[in-house]
Structure formats: C-alpha cells, structure tokens
C-alpha cells in the first residue's frame, strides 16, 4: 500500500475530480465540527441564563426584605 499520487499538486488535483472530492470532505467535516461544538455554545448560553435567573432572584429577595423592614416599625 503506497501513496497513490506522485506529488501534492496531483493529490489536490486528483486528475480533475479533486474539487468534488475536497468539496464533499470539506462540507462534511465542517458540518460535523459545527455539530460537535454546538453543546459548548448551549452550555455558555445556559450559564448566562442561570446568572440572569440568580440576579432576578436576588433582586426579588432584596425587594421583599426591604418591604418587610418598612412594614415592621409601622
């Protein structure tokens, strides 16, 4: 089993079929990497969402504590 093409240029050219072969491989690996990276993006979006949730929680709790403090002295 040895390398079928005599030079890199021939390897890229693949006697005329190169564009099709490399286009097919290129699109395939691009889509697959996009698919593989998608969870990482979702993780970042979830983290931002959670932080936003915690900020809302914190603000709601502070409003409640302020309201109860005002109610007490009355």
């Amino acid at each position: 089993m040895q390398f079928q093409f005599d030079s890199l240029a021939a390897f890229l050219h693949m006697d005329g079929h190169g564009t099709f072969v490399w286009a097919a491989y290129g699109v395939t690996f691009l889509t697959l990497t996009a698919l593989a990276l998608q969870p990482r993006l979702q993780r970042r979006r979830l983290k931002r969402e959670l932080e936003r949730q915690q900020r809302i929680e914190a603000r709601r709790r502070s409003v409640e504590t302020r309201r109860t403090r005002e109610a007490e002295p009355a």
Partner: protein, 254 residues
C-alpha cells in the same frame, strides 16, 4: 444487578456523572479512526477503474448514509423506551438524536449529489437510494418540527416518540416502494451504489471510516444529551452547583 443498572440509568445525574469519564476517550477514538480512515481512503487506496478518484467520496457518503438510517432507529427506540417505562432520560436522548440524524442525512445527500456530478454530469439523480434518503430527511424534519411546536416539554416528548415509532413502521415500506418505483422508471445507467464485491484495499478504509463515524455519532449524541439534561434540570441543586462551580473556575482562569 442488570435491573438495578437500568433503573439507575433513568436518573439524569447518574448518567451525567457516568458519561463524564467516557467522553474524552470516545472523542479520541473517533478522531483517530476518522483521521486515519480519510487519509487512507484519500491518499492510499487505489482509484476506481470506472469512476476514477471521484469514488473516494464513498468513504464519507456510505458511513453517513448508514448512520442516518441507524440514527432514526436509535431515536425511535429511545422514544419507545420513554413511552413504555416513562423514563425522561430516554426522551432526552431521543430529542438529542433528531437533529444529529437530520445533519447526517443532509451530509449523505450532499456528498451523494457532489459524487453524482462527475459520474453522471448532474447533481441530482432520482436514484432509489438518494430518493429514500431524501424522504428520510423529511421524516427527521417532521419530528424536529413537531418537537418545536409544543409549549410543554413532556407532551412534546411523547408526541415525538409516537411520530418516530410511526415513522419506523413506515421506513421499510417507503424504501421498498421507492425501489419498486425506481426499477419501474429504470434509466439506462448503472445503479448508483451497487453492492459490487468491493475489493479489500477499498473495504478496510471504508470499515475504519464507518467505525469512526459510529464513535463520533455516540460522542455527539452523549454530548447533546448532557447539554439537554442541564437545560431541563436547571432547577436542581446539582446543576446549579455544577454551573456555579464552572463559572467560578472560569472566572479564576479568565
């Protein structure tokens, strides 16, 4: 012991922790196999007598086509497990499998079309395999569209599981009827990917690529499932701990 394992598999947290260990190895295996397989197929395998070098696309077209169909069955089976044993985790696996299967079907179609150009001169050939693959893509799109339509996750899961089951029953019928339809309107050209006895020098790279694609599929499915688990279980303390911990390390590292 098996029943207990099956029961514990139901808990998303257990699944999340268990798979954390597997992920790096699975990723490594798929990268190695796909890398070696494509270099082997592109550079070292002999070219085809009739089709010349364009046939090298077979090394990604065939694995993608395999997985597109297998992916649908995996999606349908996990949906069925969810419906029968009411296991939320298998619904999550099903919801993760749908887009992955659709992408693989698209890849199979795209590579098939690009391969058709040098072989037949046109990008789109109404060959039996390619037409069935197109209908499979529509089946996937139907499941994904249905899953997006419901406001309540639990109902969406059950509806998609049922649609996937109905699809599975219909796939063999669709494939057979398309084959019959294709032989009826048989153009004079050769059948597209006939199962001619492929000689060993082309078979081994293809086998490596198929196994590599299966590992990649498994890795992607688990990765997507883990993300969906976090999204669905964000209220639980173990997720908030996990996310909290991670942002802490990130802020330290950032």
């Amino acid at each position: 012991m098996a029943w207990q394992w099956f029961h514990r598999l139901g808990s998303p947290r257990w699944f999340y922790q268990k798979t954390s260990a597997w992920m790096p190895w699975l990723a490594l295996a798929s990268l190695l196999l796909i890398g070696a397989g494509s270099i082997w197929g592109l550079g070292f395998a002999p070219e085809d007598a009739k089709q010349g070098n364009s046939y090298r696309i077979i090394y990604i077209h065939v694995p993608a086509a395999f997985l597109a169909l297998a992916g649908y069955y995996i999606m349908a089976i996990s949906g069925a497990i969810g419906l029968i044993w009411k296991m939320k985790l298998s619904f999550v696996v099903m919801r993760a499998a749908a887009p992955i299967g659709a992408v693989l079907t698209f890849i199979a179609l795209f590579t098939g079309a690009v391969w058709g150009k040098p072989t037949w001169g046109t990008y789109w050939v109404w060959d039996a395999r390619i037409t069935s693959m197109l209908i499979l893509l529509f089946l996937y799109i139907g499941v994904i569209a249905l899953s997006r339509a419901f406001s309540r996750e639990q109902v969406a899961d059950k509806a998609c599981a049922l649609l996937a089951l109905v699809g599975t029953v219909n796939i063999p019928i669709i494939y057979k009827s398309v084959d019959w339809w294709f032989t009826l309107h048989q153009p004079a050209t050769i059948k597209f990917t006939e199962k001619s006895s492929i000689d060993p020098s082309m078979f081994y790279p293809l086998l490596t690529m198929v196994i590599g694609f299966y590992c990649l599929y498994a890795w992607t499915l688990i990765a997507h499932t883990r993300e969906k688990i976090l999204q669905r279980e964000w209220r639980t303390s173990w997720v908030q701990q996990l996310m909290g911990g991670e942002s802490a390390t990130e802020s330290k590292a950032g």
